[in-house]
Homo-oligomer: 191 residues x 2
Amino acid sequence: MSLRHAVLAALLSGEYSGYQLTKAFDVGVANFWYAQPQQLYLELSKLENDGLISGREVVQQTRPTKRLFSVTDAGLAELERFAAATSKPSFIRDDLLVKVQAVDHVEVAPVIEQLDQRAAAAAAKVEILDKLLRRFRGDLDEETFLRDGTPIGPYLTCLRGKRFEQEHHDWCVRAAALLRDRAARPLPAPR
Amino acid sequence: MSLRHAVLAALLSGEYSGYQLTKAFDVGVANFWYAQPQQLYLELSKLENDGLISGREVVQQTRPTKRLFSVTDAGLAELERFAAATSKPSFIRDDLLVKVQAVDHVEVAPVIEQLDQRAAAAAAKVEILDKLLRRFRGDLDEETFLRDGTPIGPYLTCLRGKRFEQEHHDWCVRAAALLRDRAARPLPAPR
DNA sequence: TATGATTACTCATCATTCTGAGTAGGGAGA
DNA sequence: TCTCCCTACTCAGAATGATGAGTAATCATA
């Protein structure tokens, strides 16, 4: 039950509509959770029913009416409780890694292609996150911001996300180059 | 539907019983997937029913009888198909990151404590994976192994896992130190 | 003046993962 | 000898997440 808390945590940065959240979940928030729009809308209504967030309608002339949500005191208390509870260990769960694991026994070409695609996507993500980080810290340099800037939470998760993407990128590039090289040269037949 | 393929990929390295797999899923295999023992046993029986793996009973004197599974030709074909299909984007999904995201609004102490615990766990994981990597490559140095060694798949995923844990560790240590420092000094009240 | 993209959401259902509770025998240490 | 831990598994059901198919109005582009 943690999309729940991811949404709560995301709403701490201000009021958001479901739609805006779906956008945020594509960039910043995706550093610690990811979800489909439908899941977000569903979670938002559950959270509202439970009184952890409250929504207010905003009528717009040119666009459909939207509902902006913000965290209630009960929501904050729930986050407090959640933050103090023990968390599950983190782990990677990645289709592509499964494919690489099997690469000695299956066609390499499609795997290499996917590694290339991933590398490109990760690089793009790094770019985006870097911009986000710069926007967070304004004209402060990183060291200063980390010491005194606020909010520090989103900055730290963003930092983690950027590093993750960078590592992912580097690994993809390296693995792709390597597999390409091995495929080009004759090798002793894999068992 | 990918625990399925993770299990298949794991079984490529040889015959395993369900129990042995649960152990492997705690170390090497956890680099690309993680699952509870119960899930593994269930998945194994499904895979066997679908003819993707076949099991043989091994009676032991001193321990309970076990079943060792290996990938069938159909299983290999399924992996082949899977490897060529497009994969979903990877992302972090981590409770602790959610907590850090909210850290400006909740008690820091328990979050810091969890960061410490995570850092320690990640360091231990790095150790384990490093040993695994050394065992994989035997007396070859890394460069040579990456060029010519086999199997290369497990080595690459292991490498990725190690990097992930290392990054995770570093981030936890840094974030904990930072939050500790900020908590010790008086700061402008968070919004 | 179509066409497609964008904002803003909803509903239903399926797939997957997680959790708790058991079973059963052997070995090791107090 | 009592208890706990390790091997080796099973079953059922709850919780969580993913997917497909809509609705409906506005706006920009061709």
